[in-house]
Amino acid sequence: MRRVYETDYKLQLIRDIKDNDAVALKSIYAANYFKVEALVLKNNGTKEHAKDIYQEAFLAVWQNIKQDKFTPKNESSVHGYLYTIAKNKWMDFLRSKEYKKTMVSDQINNFNAPELDVDTDTNKLKEQQLTNVMQAFKTLGEPCKSLLRQFYFDKKSMKDIAQHLQLDAASTRNKKYRCMQQLRALALKTNTQ
């Protein structure tokens, strides 16, 4: 019995994260920030650094769960994973050129170890495409952006969105389609730069 309950709970957590459930995401966000802030502050960082690195890590965790690259066993494994990613990102930043620029040059000239690159070309391409789409979505006009966000991120029903826009379902669907075309065209343009 207990096992069934746990499995159910685990699935529910994954489902909530995948469905972008605001309550679940916010509670994970809030639960781990101060641990990461303490780590960054102790290691030559500021609060702004901590926030940036934490948000990057949070997004990465969410993306990995969405893509089944990471399947958490329970809530604490999500917390552990988030903390580890944030920590690694901060360590990477400390090793990065951007950071070293601000340091005295002779301190760092000695070790320029080549970074291990495990990404394959297809992975890199996909990564680049995703960045392009995200960038395109950022610059997309607000009406389209809001429509697509409500449908794909908030998972609102077509009926609710149509009602809100005071349109019928068919024209809302068509509008959504045209927004997607705009987004795709923008993303492709970003690609050629």
Binding site: R2, R3, N20, L25, K26, Y29, A30, Y33, F34, A38, K51, Q55, F58, L59, W62, Q63, K66, Q67, K126, Q129, L130, N132, V133, M134, A136, F137, K138, L148, R149, Y152, F153, R173, N174, Y177, M180, Q181, L183, R184, A187, L188, N191
Partner: protein, 244 residues
């Protein structure tokens, strides 16, 4: 993304149905068939996947500052600073109290309890293999047992035990799991069943743990007679300690 292909509204909506698992069986098998055979189609589906994932990713990213402002910061911050500024002296005092209590407890143990504590260590368990044998449930519980989750192991083994009440392996491991879980009287009932099987591989071990369980319960004579039936070295050592 491929700029040369066109994604129709119909295609977009059918891919959405595919991602959301809303296709009928017929539609799904046709869709998957096309996905296998048609490379252009594959690319189109992947492109749509990237678009949707990008929309979601960017939407979340743009909400993170709101998330950040909503962190209930008072409680977390206070809790942290409290720990940080706790005086070393207070921690040391707490440690001394804990050590004192532990010592008090340890030296107040009866000689038999001490013996028990010296001798008892849980059976290491059986090797678990990744085979698809019929004993899956048994080995599944063995994994719990080895991880120290004795409760889970006991509940799984108890279920199997109901259909095989005379199985010596089950009786033995239920016994040692109950001992590891500090329930000696339960352990005794199972271990006594385990030793009923005259040809059991676990006979010697079962007598040893049974002896230990009796010792813990304070039945010295029963413990001795049980230990006498075991050939393992620990049994002999424990027996001679009891006789002195």
């Amino acid at each position: 993304m491929n700029p040369n292909t066109n994604i129709s509204q119909e295609l977009l909506e059918s891919v959405e149905r595919y991602f959301n698992g809303n296709m009928t069986a017929d539609e799904l098998s046709a869709f998957e068939g096309k996905l296998k055979s048609d490379i252009d189609f594959q690319t189109q589906v992947e492109d749509i996947r990237t678009l949707l994932f990008g929309i979601e990713s960017q939407s979340l990213k743009e909400q993170l500052d709101d998330f950040h402002n909503e962190i209930p910061n008072t409680s977390a911050k206070k809790a942290q600073s409290k720990v940080r500024f706790l005086h070393f002296g207070k921690i040391a005092a707490a440690a001394i109290v804990v050590i004192a209590i532990a010592n008090f407890w340890f030296f107040n143990q009866s000689p038999n309890e001490k013996l028990y504590a010296n001798f008892f260590s849980p059976d290491p368990g059986l090797a678990t293999t990744m085979s698809s044998n019929s004993n899956f449930e048994f080995y599944d519980a063995m994994v719990n047992y080895k991880q120290g989750d004795y409760k889970a192991a006991i509940s799984k083994w108890t279920t199997i035990h109901q259909s095989k009440p005379k199985n010596d392996t089950l009786n033995y491991f239920l016994g040692v799991a109950y001992m590891a879980n500090k329930n000696e009287s339960k352990a005794i009932t199972y271990l006594e069943k385990a030793i009923e099987e005259p040809t059991s591989n676990f006979k010697s071990e079962a007598y040893y743990y049974l002896g230990l369980a009796y010792l813990k319960e304070g039945h010295i004579e029963k413990a001795k007679s049980s230990l006498e039936n075991s050939n393992n070295n620990n049994s002999k050592a424990l027996l001679s300690a009891l006789n002195n």
